[in-house]
Amino acid sequence: MAALFTADIENRGLVLDPRTKLFVMITLVIFALGGTGSDISAVRYGTIAVSILPVLLLMTARQYKKATVFGILYALIKSAEIFLVPNITGAELSIIGLCCLIFVRLMPGLIMGAYMLSSTTVSEFIAAMHRMHIPQQITIPMSVMFRFFPTVLEEFTAINTAMKMRDIRIGGKNAGKLVEYRLVPLMVCSVNIGSELSAAALTRGLGTKVRRTNICKIGFHIQDIAVLLLILTLYIFWILGMFGVMK
């Protein structure tokens, strides 16, 4: 589960600029989740194309297993929405219809989020935030947070195993203590690790008034331009559709 939040620098295939990823994410939020321009058919097909993009990006990041699972799941739900929903009635309609309604719109963004978190290193993220002139008050907590996620998850897994051994689990003898006996140890050890981490971070110059440097090279390359062009096409379709040039 820790691999969900951290990037494997050695083996991650094609590297995109963090800002490109952010732009793809915002586009997905506008078109796939927000349903903007869904009355224009060109935009509707474009949205489907852009919705598949995160799966392809996961492929380029060599995360084939994740890409396959998400890709099949999305294809199933999308085809259910197109072929199944118009042909059913009654109770099935409300359940299947609601699932389709929610997941068809949420999934592209969620897949993109999974790709974003698992393919961006903390340094790259901070460098990109710095270039976008986000204040230090936001970037420092966020960098600490991304650094801390794997640690919290690791501790949580260990605590979870220990509590399962004591039969404090769903369906176990002491199920009532389920939450308390997991969260309290997690917080006590997190606070302790956290104070060590903050000492380490201070030695690396976080929180000082001087401008920090970053050895991480970020910038737009050919793959970024390809992705951005694809996304821009969708926006152009939308604008043309609004003026009535396209339907």
Partner: protein
């Protein structure tokens, strides 16, 4: 605000988000989706109450709230959570500030206000509904009626109220656990 405060925000945001993340996994089962605004404020209240004991300067709660909004944007839950969290975070900050950053009762209310961003996750589902129906007239009125019955517009304020009330319950739960464990251990 010094470096150490900012690092504290990061640490507690991480713990809080891991809890949100584990609960959100439940939300993948559609029945649990509306329950998110109940479960997240309750369980998130436990680390948040501990976080409040570390808050001594203006802005810490606000920043954590904004970070939660940014995380929701990054994980694909659209922009309304960020828009709401910027305001609810500021209000939460002012509420806790009015108790001079140590009032226990104000801390519980702060958790309630802070939790409002969870409910904002549903906003796109309510807001964009009309546009969504406009493009799906060919599905027939049956489908539209069936889905709107399950997600009526009045659910929107209800999720916000649920988040606030559960935030207060979570705050009380957090206080109880803090008295029981953390004060003894000397970390609260």
């Amino acid at each position: 605000m010094k470096g150490k405060d900012l690092i504290n925000i990061g640490i507690f945001s991480a713990i809080y988000f891991v809890i949100v993340f584990i609960i959100a996994m439940l939300g993948m089962i559609p029945i649990f989706l509306p329950l998110l605004s109940v479960l997240v404020p309750i369980f998130g209240g436990i680390p948040f109450m501990l976080f409040l004991t570390k808050v001594k300067k203006f802005g810490m709660i606000w920043i954590m709230s904004i970070i939660m909004g940014i995380l929701m944007l990054l994980t694909g839950m659209s922009w309304p959570p960020l828009a709401v969290s910027v305001f609810s975070g500021l209000i939460a900050e002012l509420v806790y500030k009015s108790g001079k950053y140590k009032s226990a009762a104000k801390a519980v209310i702060t958790n309630g206000v802070f939790s409002l961003w969870v409910a904002a996750n549903y906003l796109p589902l309510f807001f964009a509904a009309e546009k969504y129906w406009a493009s799906r007239q060919n599905y027939g009125q049956d489908y539209i009626d069936a889905v709107t019955k399950l997600m009526p517009t009045w659910m929107c304020p209800v999720t916000f109220i649920a988040a606030f009330v559960c935030g207060i319950i979570g705050g009380l739960l957090g206080r109880k656990l803090m008295k029981k464990h953390f004060e003894k251990a000397g970390i609260a």
